[in-house]
Symmetry: C3
Subunit: 205 residues, 3 copies
Amino acid sequence: MPFSLSPKDSSFYPLFTASAENLVEATNVLSDFIHDHARREELAGKLRELEHAGDQSTHAIFRQLNTSFVTPFDREDIYNLASDLDDVMDFVEAAADLVILTGLGTLPAEMSQQTALLQRAAQTTAEAMPRLRTFKDLSEYWIEVNRIENEADKLYRRLISRLYSGEFDALEILKLKEVADQLEEAADAFEHVANVVETIAVKES
Amino acid sequence: MPFSLSPKDSSFYPLFTASAENLVEATNVLSDFIHDHARREELAGKLRELEHAGDQSTHAIFRQLNTSFVTPFDREDIYNLASDLDDVMDFVEAAADLVILTGLGTLPAEMSQQTALLQRAAQTTAEAMPRLRTFKDLSEYWIEVNRIENEADKLYRRLISRLYSGEFDALEILKLKEVADQLEEAADAFEHVANVVETIAVKES
Amino acid sequence: MPFSLSPKDSSFYPLFTASAENLVEATNVLSDFIHDHARREELAGKLRELEHAGDQSTHAIFRQLNTSFVTPFDREDIYNLASDLDDVMDFVEAAADLVILTGLGTLPAEMSQQTALLQRAAQTTAEAMPRLRTFKDLSEYWIEVNRIENEADKLYRRLISRLYSGEFDALEILKLKEVADQLEEAADAFEHVANVVETIAVKES
């Protein structure tokens, strides 16, 4: 593989953007999955494909990292950014898989709302990735993702409160918690992505 | 915002100390919360306020980081130290909130003991923060926090053993585990703070 | 303690190898623990001893780090590698302890399979540690550990699916999940070790 000699290798930006756009699609599929009961098997399969595509993007970034002399920002940060984007995908795919594995039917409305927040976080992240080139207006991005994560946290607690309200038995609570926790972890993982971007910006400042 | 030009900017130390002292107060409020059944709503509100104050401290550190040319230690370590102190607060606040959300009444004695350990970890951490200036006697601090975390771990396992002893039904176990896990994570998060301090000291050695 | 002055201090490699070989032994003991019902108390005691030995290795690495002027790779990476190896041991030991604490009897076959994967990950890791000296053939190691972690993940999901199949009641599911989660976390922790090695290799490339 040829070594890149350009002092600020620009080929990372499209890879990060592709990785984040993959998350936009995955969170849209997850939203359909939650609402469209009849297509769950099909849509879970679609999420497995998107997770596979995400893995390919992540490894493309790692390969690029291994063949670049000079990188636009610290190697560790590129590595962390790629890994954290990958983590989001893993949680999104796992949430859908756990719905199927536990045999859950209709899901509480709070889970649609959790998913809607994930869709917003993915959109915000995908829009920010190209701005890594100039570091312009990135603070708006991480403030917005932190705001979304705070909302997701409140929603998660409202869901927990409902789970223990007496409406569900222990077995149902256990099953629903499996899924709710993955959705909550996906929101946290979006915040980790934003934290890495903030760390990069702090170093460049 | 004016840039600080002093070669070893000293304004981080009071911010870290303030952040850790906030944890001393939060763990004291948590202790009252656990014992004083009638004041739980009020004390959970107090914890939400302290968490909000903690967020302010964390962001003051981040802003300071963005406007300092030279920092007393690596930017990433300052960032990690602030984030990990923030994590402790989040777990402490979440523990109280989950008691209310799950509608738990009297809590097992092990949870008072977990909280007492958190109070000691907070006290030890707050006393160590000003010593970051000179790096003197910091090893005592992280050894003590590691010791506390080991005790917390043993206590957590004793609690788990009791939860499954037949004394509680599945629903109660689920609720109590929600709270116990947050208290355990708070103890772990204190250890993460100590690990960052150890990392900083290793680099300076 | 005398300072080491050799430019690339070689004494870290045997310490990492010892730490990983300790994990080979621990995963072998865990396998016996799972299959040999009558010896569980004795084997859990053996795991506690191995965890104690692991802690000693970890602290030997930290002490070495504090007395070395020049390290073979970044201090943070040495620190992370030692910590992540230590994490694996903690999860392995906790899995066995939780079997005893929750009073579980015969365990599902999937848990033997999870343990077999941990044995393979430990073996692969122990064989790779001496190769840190030359950075030769390390990519084979982390690819293999990633493959094992993928298998472990699939197995974990198959186990979750079985737990909710109706075969177990809520209390049994809770107990079995405690153990399954530790085994899953141990597999993840092996992947974290491999990620640190990959990070080191990326920097050296």
